[in-house]
């Protein structure tokens, strides 16, 4: 049994509260305590929400991918519920990621959007998973819905490592990933605090969303009431 199922709704709410508190603390440090960056001035502070959003979006899609694979192997609908929760969370984070990136791009690159490999593959990832959620809405049969969307998720997930490695494989406008060795300590604290904040918030939301999906599935697959003989 996965953590998301063992946790009761109270634990889901608790995770969300912890995540929100961490996000508040991390954002406060990022906005008002961390020093300005040498070349980007204060605009770089967007990275304190943008980078954690990116990490967690990829993590949510990875969770959805793992759940989709597990459903196809085991055929247990609890994995379908986790798949739905992970994909929906990933879409929310990836959509937010694109908007944050656009806000970052304007003052630093001079444009709101560029068809750079990182941006393009991220947009493809976002729209692919939006399509999967749409597919789930249109298919009424729970077995077909779970199977088709699991296969679609496995195909769409091919783009996730491409998103991650795009800045290394191509000479891209988007900067490469930083590491703790290349980032000064005062910048790391808000970055990590917000990363854990979004992680806890995401864990809480996936916990509740998985339970919601399981309740709907149970309702959908419940046998019809026997007819009363006249």
């Amino acid at each position: 049994m996965a953590v998301s199922d063992r946790l009761n709704p109270g634990a889901g709410y608790a995770l969300m509260v912890v995540g929100a508190l961490l996000l508040a603390v991390g954002s406060y440090i990022g906005l008002f305590v961390a020093p300005s960056e040498s070349y980007m001035g204060d605009v770089y502070r967007i990275l304190y929400v943008h980078v954690p959003t990116a990490w967690n979006a990829l993590l949510a899609f990875t969770f959805a991918f793992g759940s989709a694979v597990a459903f196809l192997i085991r055929g247990d609908f609890k994995w379908d519920a986790r798949h739905e929760a992970g994909a929906e969370m990933g879409v929310v984070l990836a959509g937010l990621l694109c908007c944050q990136g656009s806000i970052w791009a304007k003052p630093t690159w001079g444009v709101w959007w560029d068809w750079d490999p990182r941006l393009t593959t991220t947009a493809v990832m976002f729209f692919a998973f939006v399509g999967i959620l749409a597919l789930r809405r249109f298919v009424e049969d729970p077995v077909k819905r779970a199977t088709w969307s699991a296969v679609a998720t496995i195909i769409a997930y091919v783009d996730v490592p491409i998103v991650y490695f795009s800045v290394r494989w191509w000479n891209s406008l988007h900067q490469m990933q930083s590491s703790p060795e290349t980032v000064s300590a005062p910048f790391l604290i808000p970055l990590r605090t917000n990363a854990f904040g979004i992680l806890f918030l995401m864990a809480g939301l996936i916990t509740l969303r998985t339970r919601l999906a399981r309740m709907r599935l149970a309702q959908e697959m419940a046998p019809p009431l026997p007819e009363v003989a006249s």
Binding site: Y39, G41, D42, I103, Q219
Partner: protein, 54 residues
Amino acid sequence: MNPTGVLGGGWEFVTAAYVLSLVVLGSYALSVVWRFRAEIRRAERQRRNPEVSK
């Protein structure tokens, strides 16, 4: 940007990014909680009266 190549200002973009993040994450969190509670209420109604249609 000034002649030294260092970006100046930009707080309006920073504010926009943080407000957008707050609105999106907050709205999604509220939507999940609202849908979860509505489903619990619906299940409870059906448990009390099984003849209520799905």
